[in-house]
Symmetry: C2
């Protein structure tokens, strides 16, 4: 497993880059006493500055209950080595089991909001304050959040940019196709002017 | 370039799978007379059934003007061979030039809403009816849409599922990291139970 000591702060104006390419993420939440982690394939940035994101979280989930209580959540971006864990925490409810204990997940409290952050095996995280939008939360399960802190593993996010190479494949982001099938962010291409 | 004759309809209950993994897409629009194509990295499904998506389109764009006029848009998913075109149409405004003419883009009218659809070099498309949500359109440039028709190239989307292999790399979806740097959806991994 990768070592969390490689995490470095990401400037907030670069935070949208962490999810710009559509990775499947882990959503962590806590109300101060209880905590949870789930997987989410549906998220996107909506603004660079201030850095804001949207994420779809089913209103029936334990995570939504905890987010409603705290007004906060975090997004942790798993690397390829966490593909089994990502699928596992996306397939069980935190109402039924403590997924941190069950899967031996280590979390550290976020610097701004105290959200549980996963670093081991992850490529990056973003700590977010919920922007209450009751209509979209109800109608589309879509929650908006403002990123208030972010960090990334310096072996794969270098000088404000992702660097996916053959040397860091365990930290390549994963993108869920459905049914436990994922692809990795690999095979970089640089566009050329037409 | 790939041949568009490989496009086959995608059942609407499978349409969310086309964008589940976060590809960068082309947004096409038309008001019946004028038309446009732009790139968008920020989109996601929000519901399986009915199939609904959210996409961020800056309110100052020509595309937003055309969508407001027609209440419709399409999402075309470029394959890796269109990386230069994707970056090009994302870097110029349709107010300044006819991008279809400038880049020699062939489009066919969509079956439900008549939106311009790109097939050559693309892996899939989704024709969408705008769901008017003035607050999120204004506050977050986030537009919601319901997918009313979808199709995909049968060489890369097989029996309702993406199949990215070494045989169809030109149709692998692309995911923008920023500054014209893209990664491809490659290196499939199947998650195993923990």
């Amino acid at each position: 497993m990768t070592n969390s000591n490689f995490f470095r702060p990401v400037a907030l104006e670069h935070a949208s880059r962490l999810v710009n390419h559509g990775p499947t993420v882990l959503v962590t939440s806590s109300d101060g006493t209880r905590r949870n982690v789930m997987a989410a394939a549906w998220s996107m940035p909506v603004e660079f500055t201030p850095p804001r994101i949207a994420i779809v979280i089913d209103k029936r989930t334990y995570t939504r209950e905890l987010i409603a209580a705290s007004g906060a959540f975090a997004i942790c971006i798993p690397g390829a080595e966490l593909v089994d864990l990502t699928y596992a925490v996306g397939s069980a409810s935190g109402r039924d089991l403590d997924k941190f204990a069950r899967y031996n997940i280590t979390a550290t409290p976020g610097p701004e909001l105290g959200m549980p952050l996963l670093e081991t095996g992850c490529a990056a995280w973003l700590e977010c304050r919920l922007i209450p939008e009751s209509h979209t939360e109800d109608a589309y399960d879509t929650c908006f959040g403002e990123v208030v802190a972010a960090a990334a593993d310096e072996r794969v996010f270098v000088k404000g940019r992702w660097s996916f190479t053959g040397e860091n494949t365990a930290l390549h982001t994963i993108h869920h196709l459905g049914g436990g099938n994922f692809v990795c962010a690999s095979n970089a291409i640089q566009a050329h002017p037409l």
